[in-house]
């Protein structure tokens, strides 16, 4: 069996990659993917700890996170599409009507 710290390290690395991705990438879709990476890091952590504590609630939490993430992506892609229709771009640097 793989010991707990391995899972946690992997999750932490995924989380950091996600955060860096959000901060440095400029394409709205790629930013979205990076956010999903962060959520999956949380998922992995939950599952690993649920295994460690021999409890189910952590595992159930993961199902809810996946569902909510799907809902968030559905709304997010809809917003990105409607922005693309209006502005013909998905790069966040080009999206700067609001400034002051």
């Amino acid at each position: 069996m793989v010991p707990l710290p391995y899972y946690l390290t992997l999750a932490a690395v995924l989380f950091v990659i996600g955060v860096i991705g959000v901060l440095i990438r400029r394409n709205a879709l790629v930013i979205f993917m990076s956010i999903e990476l962060m959520l999956n890091a949380a998922n992995l952590t939950f599952v690993a700890f649920a295994q460690e504590w021999r409890a189910l609630d952590g595992q159930i939490f993961v199902f809810f996170i996946m569902t909510v993430a799907a809902a968030e992506v559905a709304v997010g892609l809809a917003v990105i599409i409607s922005l693309f229709r209006l502005r013909k771009t998905v790069h966040v640097d080009d999206i700067h009507l609001l400034r002051g």
Binding site: V22, A41, T45, G58, F64, V75, G76, I95, L98
Partner: protein
């Protein structure tokens, strides 16, 4: 393995059920009756809110925790539910005045508003991390959609995208924090964490990291500096009633969760909260006010002012006492009335032309053209800047005196100085209203009944709570902190 059926307590969820039924009904109504107009939909929504309010009043004062401890209705939760219902009611009424958006589907709009209200009510009445997360996402996703509800306007959609990306980013932090806290304690109940664990170094590290990440996620929602960057853009781009709702209700929900995290959980004892909160309070107040001074756009000014008000609320939170919590709740009520009122007048100004006439200059001479709206706006500005006899003054008094009781004198001095500085930009608007001649012919359409009702309620509450604060403080007296 034994399975115990959770206790199902319908009294506890009756306000939520009433809202849920109304929201679904509003979504379906335009499908079956194409002629169902704005007024009918709003009427249904208002009825739903009132029923929910009545159900809330019928909940007994003793704390209920139903559904196998997933739901908690203590005086804190019930009080903030009142503030949230008030925010939703006023937002609904001022939304009725927005006639220029012919693409707007009011059935969707009102039901999204109610869904986000349900999410906020769930968030504020639970100890369970899973329920907390679900409620938070429920109101966030509804608000992302509401921000971009005017889908033919680039600025509205841009606001929605910015809010969504940063909100989801914050959710990532929040969730990872929750995962670490779960790992450290083995429970999802926030109030049971750390009980029965003799914390070794690694557990403590997990808890610290978890609490900090959770705090960052909440600070995004509450728009605390340095997690405030999204606020002005999102408030400016969204429809004005939506901005009004976001600035008041979201703040209320986030602050109640912060109170629970800081005050009622075992986690609080082991964490240097006062120092952290003082730094954040000073930063939030000062940055919000400094940036507000430079704004030319009134809506953006109100966005920065809402950041600085989050700072004042943090002062009350720093006090970490029952009176501090009561002061926070009092201020949330007061802020809801005066801020939604101010946004309501703004939304009326924006109606007359497509690109939202909201810079300071366009308010010149409004006091003579539409006296009632101008009077309301002036009162809300006086109250926001904290001048007596309006409720904003009393609210700040409570917040600051709660902090002084605990000896945070320097913090309160900074807060008062900030409050004085903020008078400048609020008064600039009032000067424009009354002491300047109108540059052009102001051709404001007549305000509709919904907006008038909302302004009247907001004005009444702002003045009344300022003169008779005991009307509100009596309701909040049940809120207390457990002794450490």
């Amino acid at each position: 393995m034994t399975f115990t059926q959770p206790t199902i307590d319908l009294t506890a969820v009756s306000p939520l059920l009433a809202l849920l039924a109304t929201a679904i009904f509003l979504l379906l109504l335009p499908l079956f009756f194409r002629s169902a107009g704005r007024a009918l939909l709003a009427f249904v929504a208002v009825i739903g809110l009132l029923i929910s309010g009545v159900c809330l009043f019928r909940i007994p004062v003793v704390p209920i925790s139903g559904f196998d401890r997933l739901l908690l209705l203590d005086p804190l939760a019930i009080a903030v539910h009142g503030a949230l219902l008030l925010a939703a009611l006023l937002t609904l009424l001022i939304s009725l005045n927005r006639v220029e958006d012919e693409y707007l589907n009011y059935g969707e709009y009102f039901s999204l508003l109610l869904f986000s209200l349900i999410g906020m009510m769930i968030v504020t009445s639970t100890w369970n991390l899973l329920v907390l997360f679900l409620g938070l996402e429920l109101f966030s996703i509804a608000l992302y959609t509401l921000a971009g509800i005017r889908k033919m306007r680039a600025d509205s959609v841009e606001a929605s995208l910015k809010y969504l990306l940063l909100g989801a980013f914050a959710s990532g932090f929040l969730l990872y924090g929750m995962a670490l806290l779960y790992g450290a304690s083995g429970t999802l109940q926030l109030n049971e964490m750390m009980l029965g664990i003799e914390a070794d170094a690694s557990t403590l590290a997990l808890i610290y990291a978890g609490v900090i990440l959770l705090f960052i996620g909440l600070a995004f929602k509450a728009a605390l500096v340095p997690f405030h960057m999204w606020t002005p853009d999102v408030y400016e781009g969204s429809a004005t009633p939506v901005s009004a709702f976001m600035s008041t209700a979201t703040k209320a929900a986030a602050f109640i969760v912060l109170i629970r995290l800081l005050a009622h959980s075992e986690l609080a004892i082991r964490f240097p909260w006062p120092q952290l909160l003082i730094v954040l309070a000073v930063l939030t107040m000062t940055v919000g006010n400094l940036l507000a001074i430079h704004q030319k756009n009134v809506k953006r000014m109100l966005a920065y002012s809402s950041i600085s008000h989050a700072g004042y609320l943090l002062v009350g939170l720093t006090a970490a006492s029952s009176s501090g919590d009561q002061a926070v709740l009092f201020y949330l009520f007061v802020y809801t009335a005066m801020n939604i009122g101010a946004f309501g007048v703004l939304s009326h100004m924006g109606v007359s032309n497509a690109d939202e006439r909201v810079d300071f200059e366009s308010y010149r001479g409004m006091g003579y053209r539409s006296p009632f709206a101008a009077l309301c706006l002036a009162v809300f500005m006086f109250s926001l800047s904290g001048l007596p006899p309006f409720s904003g003054f009393i609210g700040k008094l409570y917040l600051f005196s709660a902090a002084v009781e605990k000896g945070y004198v320097a913090l309160v001095v900074i807060a008062v100085l900030n409050s004085v500085a903020s008078v400048y930009y609020y008064m600039r608007l009032v000067v424009n209203l009354y002491m300047r001649d109108p540059a052009e012919e102001l051709s404001l359409p007549r305000a509709n009944a919904g907006l008038k009702a909302a302004l009247f309620i907001a004005l009444l509450l702002t003045v009344l709570w300022g003169i008779y604060p005991s009307l509100l403080t009596d309701l909040l007296a049940g809120i207390s902190r457990p002794l450490p």
